[in-house]
Amino acid sequence: MSAALLIDILLWGSVLGVGLIAFRRGPPVFKASLREGSMDFVNIVPRIALGVIGSGYIAAIIPQEVITGWLGPDSGWLGVATAAIAGAATPGGPVVGFSIGTVALKSGGGVPQVVAYVVAWALFAFQRVILWEIPFMPARFVWFRCAVSVPFPFVAAAIAMVIGKP
């Protein structure tokens, strides 16, 4: 069974589960949330469209080689800072992000730097923020969340330096 199918089953299973709970609270509650969810969907579709189609173009002008170049065996905190920026600027989905991390590990990148890269990618990858977070969350929350998260690639790198390699 493919991972995508498993995700879909889990996802729709959860929808069914909470939908059932809502239904047992009474059909009006169920209908109201069904309508609410559908309205959210209708409102969000144009933004998702902009995000999906748009990030494709943004990704096309940031070639992967540029990102890989930033993740050289540059050790120390400057390397961690570069890795954090590279993580945020990485175009594409998880395959691209993790592949770049693996390449960096194999080509002599420092482990704390690669950890900083992966954590920064998870926290800030611009494509996910543009495509998913901004359309769904209040914009003020997104900027706040990103600002507050800035120290954490560095914290992760520091922990990695202290506890050593995997």
Binding site: V29, S33, P46, I53, F98, A122, L123, A139, S149, V155
Partner: protein, 203 residues
């Protein structure tokens, strides 16, 4: 600007007449305009480099991607709507609100870690939590936990590509981060928006 007022729970029966707080958004905000401008510039650069064929290539690829994720987006929206309807608002604002303390951050972290699905579930559900009374701190803990220690992406992508050792080790390193991020979020939020909090206290 209608800000979510965490202590303003709308009873379920009123859901039809009253829009839930926090989920009413302007269709076009500054973020959308900035992104649209970025996209236009990028598309123009692609056109200059690769011509119309290059622009069309990306468009068709992304359109098929778009149609693929639409059903998941619908599922995410429904999940968010149902969850915000069935969660008892008072309980949520007590256990995930501004005064929930470390426990609230831990609950947010646990919730983010076990949430199934991808970004199409995490963000609608996070948005629903904000709407029913969670504060920025607990919601940040949830979002950061989902992205750093959630099993979905780790199992589907990180383990196959980066290997089990690195992934587990990276997750162990990341364990404290959601709580720290949520705590920092609360710390900054109270100082940035003291008025907002005082207003919440009154109600």
């Amino acid at each position: 600007m209608s800000e979510p007022s965490p202590k303003d729970p709308a009873p379920a029966e009123d859901a039809e007449s009253e829009p839930r707080p926090g989920r009413v958004r302007k269709p076009i905000g500054w973020s959308t305009i900035i992104i649209a401008a970025l996209v236009a510039v990028s598309a123009a650069l692609v056109w200059r480099r690769d011509g119309s064929a290059g622009v069309l290539d990306i468009l068709t690829h992304d359109l098929s991607l778009f149609s693929g994720i639409l059903p998941r987006v619908l599922a995410g929206c429904l999940l968010g709507a149902f969850i915000s309807e069935i969660l008892p608002h008072e309980k949520v604002s007590r256990s995930l609100g501004p005064k929930s303390g470390l426990m609230g951050l831990l609950i947010g972290t646990a919730f983010g870690a076990i949430l199934p699905g991808g970004p199409f579930t995490a963000y609608p559900v996070a948005s629903a939590l904000l709407a029913v009374g969670a504060d920025f701190g607990a919601t940040i803990a949830m979002v950061v936990s989902w992205t750093l220690i959630g099993y979905g992406r780790a199992v589907a992508w990180e383990i196959p590509i980066m290997g089990t050792d690195f992934t587990l080790w990276r997750i162990v390193i990341s364990l404290p981060l959601p709580v720290l991020a949520g705590a920092l979020g609360r710390f900054v939020y109270i100082r940035l928006y003291p008025k907002q909090l005082a207003k919440d206290d009154e109600s």
